[in-house]
């Protein structure tokens, strides 16, 4: 947490008060104004790109709807989609080759992957006449709605244009504040206690030359899976909490994914908004086209979907390999579905094996470059140097980034907190979605945040870079 977060929190609290009192009849306009203010104030470069992209998409949408140019709407539609994809690729590529000043290179691409997908689905839905919209302010808000601007969740057009106005216009119900607060608190806990405590360990082992033994690297890859999960789901909880207090329910992006029993189940529970976008707008159309090929067609559709998902994350070869891993897992699952159904493997085997497979793929997702990823990956299969001779020296000290008592203490605390959260995740999820205020729960969470949270090291949410 940094001062920006504090400024944001304060300005949001003031806005929230006015939003539910003086501005209660102008909610849409006030949201548009506050979202624009936040965006322009904190991310001026990104906001400029977002506004250009949004205005163009809206105009193309209007042209498709009215067919003013009296030409085939398909060409306008293809032009629109190509513009959005080219815009995304060019900004990402310019960042990839570090054309912008490295200090603010990420600032140009903040949120772009998310609102580009929203804009593409908007144009598709307009073209397929599943949606019609001529309201410019509504459309701008669809893109810049501040709780979800940075890293989603991706809102599907129908969810926004059909539900948003109704949801926020409803009479104030105090329960939205308590549920929203629950989500914000738990999200903050996940981010600044769990994810940020793991961050220096991950940063160290995935950024520099890695000479760890296999077991150490395996544990570190598990820790990265935890970190990514806590970081991204923490962000989503905060975004959902903020949105809830404003009266609109964003879709949950995660549904206890680390207990998935297969890779396909994992993808139904992990980054749900992206998965459902890719399923609806890539996987289904492609597999429909290839339906005559049966299993092969589905496999090709899986492969295309995951390669696009990898490219959506970035241009590095590591993202493509990460995507190929998952495509391979899913194709394998697809071909062995009947056999596995007959086998009925117990959860005690399927959950850990899914977790291990996911963690191995994440090595490529996180590593700073291909060489580091390759080294870590190979070390996992170097059976001669997999087990340590001295566990404390080769595993604990390495993971704790030092053998001093304070290093080990910090590591143990982090691991204990992560384990406690994961064990009680189901109950916590139930609790935060309740409309009640549990004082003891608040006290425990706040004490943990204040005593074990990482404040002031300015780590951004991992998914902000996409």
């Amino acid at each position: 947490m940094d001062f920006n977060a504090l400024y944001f929190s304060l300005s949001f609290l003031i806005f929230l008060f006015f939003y539910h009192t003086i501005l209660k009849n102008q909610k849409l306009k006030s949201l548009l104004f506050f979202s624009s203010f936040i965006l322009i104030y904190f991310f001026p470069l990104a906001s400029l790109i977002c506004f250009i992209s949004s205005i163009s998409t809206f105009k193309i949408g209007v042209l498709i709807q009215k067919n003013k140019l009296k030409v085939n709407t398909s060409s306008i539609y293809i032009l629109g989609i190509s513009f959005l994809i080219l815009n995304l690729i060019s900004i990402k590529y310019l960042n990839y080759i570090k054309l912008f000043n490295p200090k603010n290179s990420n600032l140009t691409q903040i949120g772009i992957s998310f609102y580009t997908l929203q804009n593409i689905s908007y144009l598709i839905d307009i073209k397929k006449q599943r949606l019609s919209n001529n309201n410019f302010s509504n459309f701008i808000l669809y893109n810049i709605y501040f709780p979800r601007f940075l890293s989603g969740p991706i809102i599907q057009p129908k969810d926004f244009f059909f539900k948003f106005q109704d949801s926020i216009s409803q009479k104030f119900n105090p329960s939205i504040i308590s549920t929203g607060l629950n989500l914000i608190l738990v999200g903050t806990f996940k981010k600044i206690v769990l994810s940020d405590r793991l961050s220096p360990i991950i940063e160290h082992h995935f950024s520099f030359s890695n000479d760890n033994i296999g077991l150490t690297n395996l544990i570190i890859s598990f820790l990265f899976t935890f970190q990514l999960y806590f970081d991204f789901s923490g962000y989503t909880d905060i975004a959902r909490g903020i949105s809830k207090t404003l009266g609109f329910d964003l879709i949950p992006n995660f549904n206890i994914p680390l207990r998935a029993k297969s890779i396909s189940e994992f993808w139904r529970k992990w980054h749900i908004s992206l998965t459902s976008w890719l399923t609806n707008y890539v996987f289904y159309p492609v597999s429909f086209k290839l339906r005559k090929q049966k299993k092969l067609g589905t496999s090709i559709a899986i492969l295309i979907t995951f390669i696009l998902s990898g490219l959506w994350h970035g241009f590095g070869i590591t993202f493509i390999i990460y995507a190929l891993f998952h495509a391979f897992y899913l194709i394998f699952e697809h071909y062995t579905l009947n056999f596995r159904n007959k086998l009925k493997t117990p959860n005690i085997l399927t959950i850990p094996s899914t977790f291990i497979l996911v963690s191995i793929a994440f090595i490529f997702f996180r590593a700073e470059n291909f060489e580091i990823a390759r080294r870590i990956f190979i070390s996992l299969f170097n059976f001669i140097q997999f087990w340590p001779v001295n566990f404390e020296k080769e595993v604990l000290t390495k993971i704790a980034l030092g053998g001093e008592k304070i290093n080990l203490y910090n590591l143990y605390i982090t691991l204990i907190l992560c384990c406690i959260y994961l064990i009680f995740e189901f109950s916590i999820e139930k609790l935060i979605h309740s409309e009640r205020i549990y004082i003891i729960f608040y006290i425990i969470i706040l004490t943990l945040i204040f005593a074990f949270g990482i404040f002031g090291n300015q780590t951004v949410f991992i998914y902000n870079q996409f």
Binding site: I437, I439, L446, F450, I454
Partner: protein, 302 residues
């Protein structure tokens, strides 16, 4: 609505009380942690005759046990002269003025690459005006953060929570056994390595000079003799620094200006022997034994 407001007030009150209690717990526990030098020197009477202050070099090389006299080692890892000044100030608040204060002075002490002001160690002592003003002047960010309600320690959780828990343990167990009672921390076995690149040029930071002067003035005001000293340096590495001698000359001038001694310990035989060192300035276990023998002769001449 009224019911909701009442409930919200109760929750807010409970949360604020918890946060106040938590901050108090940190203050209390850190001040009761006898392993923390700055807390320890305020909780017990040390009243040493010879006091050594400086960074990790004195901290790991001055062994009061080997010196066999009333000596206390006030050296602290990675600390610069600003922190050393505050350490001396806190020591003198609760202890008699020593007869002699030895201030470790080497070119490294003026360069921020090696030592700095670790403000987090001073957080439990911010109630003191001098400490508070110094932190405000030299580390405004930490000062500013410490003033945010309930977040005084939160920005330093990774460094401080362990110490807080240890302090709490000391209090509950009524454990006053000090881990490093004379301030000396013995180094483990390390192999010799360079601590900075070849041909590294030192930079002279004025604020370190200002605070070395402040240390001298504070000691003089207590009628204590101040001696600047440099412990042995590994010659092979030391000659690689192009401006080491220039800095030593500056230190000598500084000592002359303040009319105090500057002693350079070590000799050709000691400084050339790599088994005595773990880097340019930090001594190995063997080096510590030899150096303390030499120092003992200086402190208690026969």
């Amino acid at each position: 609505m009224k019911k909701i407001l009442i409930k919200l007030s109760i929750v807010t009150f409970a949360l604020i009380m918890t946060m106040i209690l938590l901050e108090y717990l940190y203050d209390f526990s850190l001040q009761n942690n006898y392993y923390l030098k700055y807390s320890s020197i305020q909780k017990r009477k040390i009243n040493a005759e010879n006091l050594f202050i400086g960074s990790c070099v004195p901290n790991t090389s001055i062994s009061p046990e080997l010196l066999e006299n009333n000596t206390y080692n006030l050296g602290v890892y990675h600390s610069n002269y600003i922190e050393n000044y505050l350490a001396l100030y806190l020591y003198l608040k609760n202890n008699k003025s020593p007869k002699r204060i030895f201030v470790y002075t080497s070119p490294e002490c003026f360069d921020e690459r090696f030592n700095h002001l670790n403000s987090f160690r001073m957080l439990p002592h911010l109630n003191d005006k001098t400490v508070n003003n110094t932190i405000k002047k030299y580390d405004y960010q930490t000062y500013q953060r410490s003033k945010i309600p309930f977040l005084k320690y939160s920005f330093e959780n990774l460094n401080i929570t362990y110490d807080m828990i240890t302090g709490l343990k000391h209090y509950i167990k009524k454990d006053k056994q000090i881990l490093y009672s004379n301030g000396f921390i013995e180094l483990k076995n390390f192999t010799l390595k360079r601590s900075y690149p070849k041909n590294y040029k030192f930079k002279w930071y004025k604020k370190n000079e200002i605070y070395l002067n402040k240390i001298i003035q504070l000691s003089k005001s207590k009628k204590t003799e101040v001696i600047l000293y440099e412990s042995p340096v590994f010659e092979l590495f030391a000659t690689e620094q192009p401006n080491r001698n220039e800095f030593i000359l500056k230190i000598k001038k500084l000592a002359l200006k303040n009319r105090i001694k500057f002693i350079q310990f070590g000799n050709q035989y000691f400084n050339k022997n790599k088994v005595n060192f773990i880097n340019t300035v930090n001594l190995s276990k063997k080096g510590v034994l030899e150096f303390n023998k030499e120092l003992k002769k200086y402190l208690c001449p026969v």
